[in-house]
């Protein structure tokens, strides 16, 4: 457990995530409170990152935006991972007709461009997190299914799986205790990738007005709003973009580190 936080990326990421999740209880400015008199004010002791076009505190808005991005992407990725892995493992282990069926359904989902699918759902069911999470999950289920299916196909041919069967183990035991741990590495890599992709997709949808609803802050909307005043106030555009980039880089580094930790072949010392 100690080793999980042994890299700089892990420490930075946990500071960011904890900070964002704790945003409502931290002594911050209200991200929705306007102060039109001080619109576009630069950084000051009261407002560390300055104020936006309505005079709202940028630092506080960034933190709240990050919070909703993490909550939405995290739950979407978890949902996608649970469903996708279950389908992939079942398809890879049981084989036969159900395998063909589930994989073809995944291919159909993969045919839709993610942004288009999300836009369709948002127009039909209305924008907002309650639409966004299931849509993002649906978009990313096939990627987990594919990774899980391919890994199961490799692992199930290993002699040690046959050895466990010969011990008289139930299918449940084989799936949960033998196969799932063996394919965890590639799934974690996929998870990092999917969280990062969902963060990007979520901000893209919010930018288009299909995601988080105003006035709640979101990184995408902040970029969208700052677009109009980009020449005069580049900072308002750069701040959410930079935060987005940093979070994604840190996520990828962290999951790479996690995969390394899960590999039993790494040296023990």
């Amino acid at each position: 457990m100690k080793q999980i936080f042994s890299t700089p990326s892990a420490i930075l990421l946990s500071i960011l995530v904890v900070g964002a999740l704790l945003a409502p209880v931290l002594p911050l400015h209200d991200p929705l409170a306007m102060d039109v008199a001080n619109r576009f004010a630069g950084p000051s002791a009261r407002h560390w990152f300055g104020q936006d076009e309505y005079g709202r505190d940028v630092f506080s808005r960034l933190l709240f935006a990050l919070r909703s991005a993490i909550l939405i992407s995290g739950s979407a990725a978890l949902l996608a991972a649970a469903i996708g892995t279950a389908i992939g493992v079942a398809a890879g282990y049981v084989r036969g007709f159900s395998e063909a069926l589930s994989l073809r359904v995944m291919d159909v989902i993969l045919c839709f461009p993610p942004l288009l699918l999300a836009m369709l759902a948002a127009t039909l069911y209305g924008a907002g997190p309650q639409t966004l999470v299931p849509v993002l999950a649906l978009v990313f289920v096939p990627s987990f299914t594919r990774v899980a299916h391919a890994s199961v196909m490799t692992v199930r041919t290993m002699d040690y799986v046959d050895a466990v069967r010969l011990m008289g183990a139930s299918t449940q035991h084989i799936l949960w205790r033998t196969i799932l741990p063996a394919i965890a590495g590639p799934l974690f890599v996929q998870f990092s990738f999917v969280v990062a992709m969902s963060v990007v997709l979520e901000s893209g949808l919010s930018y288009l007005g299909l995601g988080v609803l105003p006035p709640e802050p979101s990184l995408g909307m902040m970029v969208g709003a700052a677009r109009a005043t980009f020449i005069d106030e580049p900072w308002l555009l750069l701040a959410p973009c930079l935060l987005l980039t940093i979070v994604i880089v840190l996520l990828n580094a962290f999951c790479d580190h996690l995969r390394h930790l899960l590999d039993p072949r790494r040296s023990q010392n």
């Binding site: 002699d159 046959d162 050895a163 008289g168």
Partner: protein, 607 residues
């Protein structure tokens, strides 16, 4: 002995170091030898002895950034280590060629066979496409690939392992090299194919007068091919000399141990029962023959396993409509009985169905017809947990058969955990005692499998198979992947356990010499059927079926003075057990040649 001509390659003071994590580790030291035209030099040693590294260093195929090579290798007046990479490329494949161990992965799967041989020619010679094709065809004929012209445009997957190795040899010899380096070229092949490939290399050498460096761990092969032999141990050449001299008067203890460990066919002619190998103490060089022991077979007790007409076929559906178009007749009407304390060996070439038979008997595969009775109960009617207490299996590849995520102690006691049979403390005690029983240390329980060598892992697998105290153990090529000294130790361990626990072993192997040592009864399989079954002495002393005779004649004889006294086996493409959907297997008759020795009446294909 071949005609030995002028000196081709002179290696002096070759040393190789690898860089691992900043430290330079010396893996090969002070290698000195020479190869003359027409001469075969064998480099023997166990895995990790540095024999392959030596050959890779000579061809400069080791990654330059993490290896350091020193010494000299004078090849036709030039030091290979002084050449630039461009000059070396001209030498490699043209003057010096290599063949590798794995014929399945050393050919490009998306290029036709003919194109790959032609490519080997056109890389080094300025020839037109038509000329390259003609030469490639000539090469295919020279390596005796039947109907070369029609097979020119086929792909590697359409060739069997032995034929692929022939293709590799054709490509390697296409430019008529002066020196051929063969790195375990026959290790992945069946004995009959091995005999053919060795014969082919010898014939081609006699035709062209090339020098050959033959790298192998198999002393039987060394005796067949080599004029001179280098024995390597942990990176040192510990002994060199003519092959006759090494076999007759080995100077070093290790060489003696290596030779003593070589399974010899016929060494059991006078023994009434299976006999463990003599043990060898490397430090003192003393050989202790196995102690006298009573026969483990208990013929009066009820049999452990009765297989009656078991049949397993795999459907091959058509890709589009999933209709069955053909079937693999992997196990066809197999009948055998395993008694308490008996070792029954199933021998045959790869693809003959011996592994499938083992998997049917353990219940990993279901069977279509016939019956399999385990301790008197039909296998199908036994629940999985009960079956686990009666039959267990040891697999061929000790690297794939242990879960890399489980500590060794957890792996051994996993069956107990699955069935909730023991407390944590009890599990640890059981793991510790089993580890000691198989010759490891109790404290190794907390390590992971990747920290162990192949032989140690196989011991762990034996311990895991024992934890449920089964009465039958199926050992599927359990010692085939191990070095000779490891092999003898595992065989001895299995025989000791049999003595102690009255186990019945179903020993599946293609290694005839080990089979002769360990078995009470031998069954010979060919294309899914048992063609001959009987007491070990009858099968080895008086083989009756033509296939058994062919199999036995192909086993290399580890005695260089007997070389050339037997006929090379005929070049045959393996028949395939894939049959059309409506195929009815022929009725087979068996005759009893002597008590308990049954021989299938050979069908017309053996006429």
């Amino acid at each position: 002995m071949t005609n030995v001509g002028s000196e081709l390659l002179q290696v002096s003071d070759l040393a190789v170091s690898f860089n691992s994590g900043g430290d330079w580790r010396n893996v090969v030291r002070d290698v000195n030898f020479s190869v003359s035209a027409g001469e075969t030099v064998a480099i023997v040693g166990e895995s990790g002895s540095g024999k392959s590294v030596t050959s890779l260093a000579l061809t400069r195929l080791l990654p330059a950034d993490v290896t350091r090579v020193s010494g000299e290798a004078i090849f036709r007046g030039q030091n290979l280590f002084d050449l630039t990479e461009q000059q070396m490329e001209k030498v490699r494949g043209d003057r010096i060629s290599m063949i590798f161990q794995e014929p399945m992965t050393s050919l490009n799967p998306v290029m036709t066979i003919g194109a790959q041989i032609a490519e080997a020619i056109s890389v080094h010679r300025k020839v037109s496409r038509a000329e390259a094709k003609e030469e490639a065809l000539a090469m295919m004929e020279r390596v005796r690939i039947p109907s070369a012209r029609t097979r020119f445009n086929e792909f590697p997957h359409q060739f069997s392992g032995g034929m692929r190795q022939r293709v590799m040899i054709a490509a390697a010899l296409a430019c008529k090299p002066d020196l051929l380096i063969a790195d375990e070229p026959t290790t992945a092949l069946d004995v009959t194919i091995q005999a053919q490939v060795i014969e082919l290399i010898k014939e081609l050498q006699a035709e062209t007068g090339m020098g050959v460096i033959f790298i192998t761990h198999d002393m039987g092969v060394v005796a067949e091919v080599a004029d001179r032999t280098l024995v390597m141990y942990h990176g040192d050449v510990i002994e060199t000399g003519s092959t006759l001299q090494i076999f007759d008067r080995p100077a070093k203890t290790y060489t003696r141990a290596l030779l003593a460990a070589v399974p010899k066919l016929g060494s059991m002619n006078d023994a009434p029962a299976p006999l463990p190998y003599a043990s060898f103490d490397l430090a003192s060089g003393k050989m202790t023959p196995a102690p006298e022991r009573p026969d483990t077979l208990r013929p009066d007790e009820p049999p452990l396993l009765e297989v009656e007409g078991a049949t397993k076929r795999f459907d091959q559906p058509s890709p589009v409509l999933k209709r069955v178009i053909s079937r693999v007749h992997a196990v066809e009407n197999v009948t055998l009985t395993l008694r308490r304390g008996e070792t029954l060996s199933i021998v045959g070439e790869s693809g003959c169905g011996k592994s499938t038979t083992g998997r049917v008997i353990t219940g990993l595969y279901d069977y279509q017809s016939g019956s399999v009775k385990l301790n008197g109960r039909e296998l199908r009617s036994i629940s999985a947990p009960d079956r686990a207490r009666e039959i267990q299996m040891i697999f061929q590849d000790p690297y794939a058969s242990l879960n890399p995520r489980l500590r060794v102690g957890e792996a051994i006691t996993e069956p107990l955990r699955i069935h909730g049979l023991a407390t944590r403390e009890k599990e640890q005690a059981i793991a510790a005692s089993l580890l000691e029983r198989v010759g490891l240390k109790a404290e190794m329980a907390s390590r992971y499998p990747h920290e162990f060598s192949g032989g140690q892992r196989q011991r762990i697998c034996v311990a895991r198979a024992l934890v449920m105290k089964p009465s039958v153990i199926v050992a599927d090529e359990a010692v085939s992947a191990l070095d000779v000294t490891m092999k003898t130790q595992i065989v001895n361990l299995m025989m000791d356990l049999q003595q102690e626990m009255g186990l019945g072993f179903l020993f599946i192997s293609h290694d005839m010499a080990v089979v002769e040592r360990i078995s009470h009864t031998v069954a010979v399989m060919y294309l899914g059927e048992i063609v001959e079954i009987g007491p070990r002495a009858a099968i080895f002393g008086n083989p009756a079926h033509p296939y058994t005779k062919r199999l036995l004649s192909a086993v290399p004889v580890p005695d260089p003075s007997l070389r050339g006294q037997r006929n090379p086996p005929p070049v045959l493409e393996l028949n395939s057990p894939v049959r059309p959907r409506d195929y009815q297997p022929p009725e087979r008759d068996y005759i009893e040649a002597s008590p308990g020795h049954f021989v299938q009446v050979p069908g017309p294909e053996w006429a």
